[in-house]
């Protein structure tokens, strides 16, 4: 590994050792892996100055990648301007441009990447390609003041149980097929539920589930440390179409089973790694039932449980900006000509040299 001192421009050296010498530095992060187009502006010491988001809501069905990418292209300029206005800084005051380079939907990623390249090139600032999953974990660690957790990251596109081990966030358990958020969303749509601004499908499903009482048998699939949700979804949708069960009970059962699987795998990772913190993040983290299960499990192991607040648990630009700061401090910038998006970029492919450093 390169020595950090060699990587640092002299004006930046101070910020590692003492806050007094810190030059105000700002990172602008662009998030566009799926249905959210977000721009965050974060100072080098982790203060979030702006976190603006515009979500694409399809007329019908799930996220259509091309339509979502069009949405992103249309709102990009406005969202960036709004973020700068809220942060109260000028474009030339930004020191780093970060963007979510993957994993995610290709067309959506490419909009964010294009905007980021244009900004970096126009402003003459370094570009950082950030792993989206890594950004969720790093943002959670910062805002929740968590040091070394077992993290459960659950969203519409990802289902990952990870913990830091030997230089990287290792994946201890993950989905073998679809993400848990995807499973819940597709079921909710099949049931005729609609997302609204500020109230995603998952929230509508949770509301119905809270009125369910009866547990209906559905497949519970944990294979070693990994999980499968596709069979669960198919079975739940079939029962829904059969029309024999109240929707509330189906939502209730679907949640109970999916969340029990997640908690079981998180528990195994916790027992295996002997860590003392559990962190919950991602879009599905907002679910109160999932939170209560993980809390109960963590307490049984004497571990501290915390959940990332909704603003920073769902996809957002601030987490990309913050992870951009961490990467930049360790010289992990990329030239524009090598900034291709990486649709299947794995969390455990990324070195995390800043972990544990203060």
């Amino acid at each position: 590994m390169l020595m950090t001192s060699q990587l640092f421009p002299s004006s930046l050296k101070g910020c590692m050792s003492s806050k007094n010498y810190m030059r105000e530095g700002f990172s602008l992060g662009i998030e566009s892996t799926a249905d959210d187009f977000g721009v965050g502006i974060v100072s080098f010491d982790g203060e979030v100055l702006a976190n603006v988001n515009d979500v694409y809501i399809p007329d019908k069905g799930g996220i259509h990648p091309r339509e979502a990418s069009r949405h992103h292209a249309i709102v990009a300029g406005r969202v960036i301007a709004e973020a700068l206005r809220r942060a109260g800084i000028k474009p030339k005051e930004i020191d780093v441009i970060a963007f979510s380079q993957g994993p995610g939907l290709g067309p959506c990623l490419r909009v964010g990447a294009t905007v980021a390249r244009a900004l970096a090139s126009y402003l003459g600032k370094p570009l950082v390609g950030v792993n989206h999953c890594l950004a969720h974990i790093e943002m959670g660690r910062m805002v929740n003041r968590v040091k070394d957790p077992v993290t459960l990251y659950v969203s519409g596109g990802n289902t990952i149980v990870s913990a830091f081990e030997a230089g990287r966030y290792r994946i201890f358990g993950e989905t073998l097929d679809i993400a848990v958020g995807n499973c819940l969303d597709v079921f909710a749509r099949e049931a005729g539920l609609r997302p609204e601004p500020g109230k995603p499908l998952g929230a509508a499903l949770e509301e119905l589930a809270s009125r369910g009482r009866r547990l209906i048998q559905l497949p519970y699939t944990v294979k070693g440390m990994d999980m499968s949700f596709s069979g669960l979804l198919t079975a739940a949708v079939n029962l829904l179409r059969g029309g024999k069960y109240p929707l509330e009970d189906l939502c209730f059962s679907l949640q109970e089973i999916a969340f029990s699987m997640l908690t079981e795998v998180t528990e195994r990772a916790l027992a295996h790694t002997e860590k003392v913190e559990v962190l919950l993040t991602g879009g599905v983290a907002a679910n109160k039932r999932l939170q209560s299960m993980l809390r109960a499990m963590a307490e049984e192991h004497g571990a501290h449980f915390s959940v990332v607040s909704k603003e920073y648990a769902t996809d957002n630009g601030a987490m990309i900006a913050w992870t951009g700061v961490l990467c930049y401090k360790y010289g992990l910038t990329i030239p524009i000509e090598k900034s291709f998006v990486r649709m299947k970029w794995r969390l455990d492919d990324v070195d995390v040299p800043w972990f544990g450093a203060h």
Partner: protein
């Protein structure tokens, strides 16, 4: 949690097999507490046995928790039996109590491979590893993956037989990925506990494995093992 009753109905010297409420935790001493189950050592009908109990998880809905416990308590003895059919020595299962999510099985007399492997003379060590490889090969050839192949789950009996235990994570699968993970776990267990003999032991295991699986399948699985290693998964020390 299911209730456990004590007292008059259990005064008889034999545990009542039809009873729904046998508290096995009083019949033995806890020797291992895992994330999935607790292992007690005790005496049952005059035999030295293992009680493997799956304890309730409070975070899960009680009804669901019961269903999962029962399913797994059924699954494990079935896999133990399938392993026997494949010619792999496994403990004798005496009784399965679904109500208490408890499996009562033979306590296998012998030494854990984990504790003896390092001290064996080289020739013996290679012989033992080749035998382990043959057993794993037999499992895989018959569509069984063990799921937790550490040397603490292998017991060398005084007669020189190797018995595989703990099928709690086992699966019925011929999937190359599962077989690769199985062998990868062996390698990791060797690297953490028998680090001076990793290559010697792993090579011998593969020789034995090859005898059962044949060179083509063995190569496929080994290729998958190196792919899994590159992926960097399952890296944490056991």
């Amino acid at each position: 949690m299911t209730s456990t009753s004590h007292g008059s109905e259990h005064i008889s010297s034999f545990p009542n097999q039809n009873s729904a409420s046998q508290d096995y935790s009083t019949l033995g001493t806890l020797i291992k507490r895992g994330a999935e189950a607790s292992i007690y050592l005790g005496v049952w009908y005059g035999r030295k046995v293992i009680f493997k109990r799956r304890l309730p998880k409070k975070y899960r809905l009680q009804e669901l928790d019961r269903a999962i416990q029962i399913q797994r308590t059924k699954h494990e003895p079935q896999m133990i039996h399938k392993a026997k059919e494949a010619g792999v020595p496994t403990p004798i299962v005496f009784m399965v109590d679904l109500e208490e999510a408890t499996i009562i099985m033979e306590y296998v007399e012998g030494k854990q491979i984990k504790n003896i492997l390092n001290d064996l003379p080289s020739e013996e060590r290679v012989k033992v590893c080749r035998q382990i490889g043959r057993l794993i090969g037999k499992l895989h050839k018959n569509g069984i993956v063990h799921g937790d192949l550490t040397t603490s789950n292998m017991i060398l009996t005084p007669e020189g037989k190797i018995v595989l235990v703990d099928f709690g994570l086992s699966e019925q699968s011929t999937d190359l990925e599962y077989q690769g993970v199985d062998l990868h776990l062996v390698k990791r267990a060797l690297a953490s506990t028998h680090y001076n003999y990793v290559d010697e032991c792993f090579n011998a295991i593969i020789e034995g494995y090859d005898e059962e699986m044949g060179p083509d399948s063995t190569k496929d699985v080994l290729d998958r093992v190196s792919e899994i290693e590159k992926r960097g998964r399952y890296i944490a020390e056991r």
